[in-house]
C-alpha cells in the first residue's frame, strides 16, 4: 500500500494518522491498544452541537470531490423533529484514478466505524448505511468483519459505552454503477431502486433517504473525524493548506515509478508528489499532462505544474480541481487523443440516461473522439466537439454531465494542436494552435 517517499529527505514530512503503519491495525484489539475508540468516548462526553462546532473549526472539507465544509453540512441537519435521520457513508469509489477508500477498509476499518459513530452522535442519527461498490467484495468482507467485532465489543448498537446512545451501522453493497457515487443516486440505490440522481432542492438534509433528513459523507471524510476529536480542531486546522487543511490520501497512477496511495498534508506540490513520493517518471521522461483529481477533473499541461499544489485553492487557480486527489500522470509519449477517447467512453457507459444532454451528448463526444483517434476527423469536428461538451455542461440534474464535459473541454483548450493533427483536412501550412 503506502510506500514511503522514495527520496524521504527531500519530501514534506508527515506522520500518517489515517493510515498509520501499525501492524494488524485492522484488528480491534490492536486499534484499541493504540487509543482507538478514545475519540468516540471523548465525543460522547461532549454535547452533539459541540462536536459539530469542533468539526466546523477544523475546516475539514469533504474528500469525495466537492470539498464542501463538513461541519457546515452537518449543521444543516434539523435538530428537532419526529422523523428518523440517516447518515450515508459514500464508499462507491468509482472515479477513475481513485483507490483510496479501499486502503481505509483494508488497513484502518475501525477508524471509519469510529468516525461514523461520532457523526451519528453529532447529528442525532440512529442508523448509518455505509455504501460500498459491488466490485469491492473483498473489502466489504473486511469491513463486515471489523463491524462484527465492534458490535461484539458493544461499540456499535445499544447503549454505546454506557452513554445511553444507540445507533446501528449497516453495510450496503452496490452492483456496478459509477453514478451511485452521486449522493442522491446513492440514496435511491439504498432504497432499492435504479440509481437515478434526484433534482435538488430539496437537499438531502431536508428530504433524503426515505424522505427523511440525511447526510452523505465520503469514507475518507468520515475517517478524518476521530482525528479531529482526538487531536483537536486547532491542530487539524494547522495541517497543510489553511483553507483546505488536514491529511489527504493522494492516489498516484499512470506513468510513475512507484504508483500507490500516499498520505500527506494537503498542499504538497504536484511535482514533489510525482518526483519525490512516487519515484518520478519511468525512463526520466518528461511529463506531458496530468489529471490531478480523478478523471473528471480538468487536465493540466506538464510544463504548467510548477508551483501547483494538491489543495482546493491552488488547483482551482491552475484551472482544475482537487477532486478525489487521484493524480494520473502521463509522460511525453502519451497519445492524449486515445486517453480522452477512453475517458469519454467511460462517461458514455456510465450516464444513467435520465437527462437528454448527458445521455445523448456523452455518446456524441465518444463517437466524435473515435474519429480523431482513427485520424478520420475533419477540422470542423474540433469546434463541434467543444460545442457538444458545452451543451452538456450545466444542463443536467447531476454533475456527471459536467464530469463528462470538463475533461474534453480542458483537453481541447490545452492540447488543441493534438486534435488538429488528427484531422484529414488540416492545411499543411496551417499554424499549430497553442
Amino acid at each position: 500500500m503506502m510506500l514511503p517517499p522514495s527520496h524521504p529527505d527531500q519530501a514534506t514530512k508527515w506522520e500518517n494518522v489515517i493510515l498509520p503503519p501499525t501492524k494488524d491495525l485492522h484488528k480491534i484489539d490492536v486499534y484499541r491498544q493504540g487509543g482507538g475508540y478514545g475519540a468516540l468516548k471523548k465525543a460522547l462526553a461532549m454535547k452533539p452541537e459541540e462536536v459539530i462546532e469542533e468539526v466546523k473549526r477544523s475546516n475539514l472539507r469533504g474528500r469525495g470531490g466537492a470539498c464542501f465544509p463538513t461541519g457546515l453540512k452537518w449543521s444543516f441537519m434539523p435538530k428537532a423533529g419526529t422523523k428518523a435521520k440517516y447518515l450515508c457513508v459514500n464508499g462507491d469509489e468509482s472515479e477513475p484514478g481513485t483507490f483510496k477508500d479501499r486502503q481505509i477498509f483494508e488497513f484502518n476499518p475501525h477508524l471509519l466505524i469510529e468516525g461514523t459513530l461520532i457523526a451519528c452522535w453529532a447529528m442525532g442519527i440512529t442508523a448509518a448505511y455505509i455504501y460500498i461498490r459491488g466490485e469491492y467484495g473483498k473489502w466489504i468482507r473486511m469491513l463486515e468483519r471489523a463491524l462484527e467485532d465492534a458490535y461484539s465489543n458493544r461499540l456499535v448498537g445499544e447503549n454505546i459505552l454506557d452513554s445511553g446512545f444507540t445507533t446501528q451501522i449497516y453495510i450496503h453493497k452496490g452492483a456496478g454503477a459509477y453514478i451511485c457515487g452521486e449522493e442522491s443516486s446513492l440514496m435511491n440505490s439504498i432504497e432499492g431502486d435504479r440509481g437515478y440522481p434526484r433534482v435538488k432542492p430539496p437537499f438531502p438534509a431536508q428530504v433524503g433517504l426515505w424522505g427523511c433528513p440525511t447526510t452523505i459523507n465520503n469514507v475518507e471524510t468520515i475517517a478524518n473525524v476521530p482525528v479531529i476529536i482526538e487531536r483537536g480542531a486547532a491542530w487539524y486546522a494547522g495541517v497543510g493548506s489553511p483553507k483546505h487543511p488536514g491529511p489527504l490520501l493522494v492516489g498516484v497512477s499512470g506513468h510513475v515509478n512507484q504508483p500507490g496511495v500516499y498520505e500527506m498534508p494537503t498542499g504538497v506540490p504536484l511535482l514533489e508528489i510525482i518526483h519525490k513520493w512516487s519515484g518520478g517518471v519511468p525512463g526520466h521522461k518528461g511529463i506531458k499532462a496530468v489529471i490531478p483529481g480523478g478523471s473528471s477533473t480538468m487536465v493540466l499541461r506538464g510544463e504548467a505544474l510548477e508551483g501547483v499544489r494538491m489543495d482546493a485553492d491552488s488547483l482551482k487557480a491552475a484551472g482544475s480541481s482537487v477532486g478525489t486527489a487521484g493524480l494520473i500522470v502521463m509522460d511525453e509519449d502519451t497519445d492524449l487523443i486515445a486517453v480522452i477517447t477512453r475517458i469519454a467512453k467511460f462517461y458514455y457507459h456510465e450516464s444513467c440516461g435520465q437527462c437528454t444532454p448527458c445521455r445523448e451528448g456523452t455518446g456524441w463526444l465518444w463517437k466524435l473522439l473515435t474519429r480523431f483517434e482513427a485520424g478520420e476527423a475533419r477540422m470542423s469536428d474540433v469546434a463541434l466537439l467543444m460545442d457538444v461538451a458545452n451543451n452538456i455542461e450545466g444542463n443536467t440534474i447531476c454533475a456527471l454531465g459536467d464530469a463528462a464535459a470538463w475533461p474534453v473541454q480542458s483537453m481541447l483548450r490545452q492540447f488543441r494542436d493534438e486534435f488538429e493533427r488528427r484531422t484529414v483536412d488540416r492545411p499543411d501550412d496551417a499554424p499549430v494552435s497553442a
Binding site: R102, G134, S189
Partner: protein, 154 residues
C-alpha cells in the same frame, strides 16, 4: 429460488431497512450468488418476495452492470481498460487474453469455462494493469502473470 439459508438472511435484512423494496439489491445478490445469474423467473420470484412489481426488479437488474441476465462462464475475467490501466498497457493484456483464450472481448469460451470482458475502473489504479476474476483482483499484470493465472483456472 432462494435457499433456506438465504431466506433466513432476508428476514434478518428486513430489520435493517424501513421498506422491503430496499432489499432489492441484497436479494438480487443472493440470487446471483446462488444461480450464477438472474433469470426472468427469478426476477418474478424476487418481485413476489419483496412485494414490488416485476418491472421494478427488471429495471434494477438492467441498470446495474454487475447483475447478469444470462449465464456467464465458470470464470468471469474482467480486464480494466480505463485510463490508469490503459497508460500501463491494459490493451496488451486484453489482446494476450483474447489470443490465449481464442475468444474476443465480450465472448465465452465454447466449453463455458471463461467469459472475457472489459470493465470500467475497479479502483486498482496504482497497481495497474489489473483484471478481476470474479471478486478476486489480480494486479501488476504481465503476459507471463496472465498465463500463470489461466493455468490455475479449473
Amino acid at each position: 429460488m432462494l435457499n433456506e439459508n438465504n431466506l433466513k438472511r432476508v428476514e434478518e435484512l428486513k430489520r435493517r431497512y424501513p421498506t422491503t423494496q430496499a432489499l432489492t439489491l441484497p436479494v438480487l445478490w443472493m440470487v446471483q450468488e446462488q444461480e450464477g445469474y438472474v433469470s426472468e423467473a427469478s426476477m418474478q420470484e424476487v418481485a413476489e418476495l419483496l412485494n414490488v412489481t416485476f418491472a421494478h426488479v427488471l429495471g434494477v437488474v438492467t441498470f446495474y452492470t454487475m447483475f447478469h441476465t444470462k449465464p456467464v462462464g465458470r470464470h468471469h475475467i474482467e480486464v480494466c481498460t480505463n485510463v490508469s490501466c490503459m497508460l500501463r498497457g491494459s490493451e496488451k493484456i486484453m489482446s494476450h487474453l483474447e489470443h490465449r483464450l481464442g475468444v474476443k472481448c465480450g465472448e465465452t469460451t465454447p466449453d463455458k469455462k471463461v467469459t472475457l470482458n472489459e470493465t470500467e475502473c475497479l479502483g486498482a489504479c496504482g497497481y495497474a494493469p489489473m483484471l478481476a476474476i470474479g471478486e478476486a483482483y489480480h494486479e501488476h499484470l504481465t503476459p507471463d502473470k496472465v498465463d500463470r493465472l489461466l493455468e490455475g483456472l479449473s
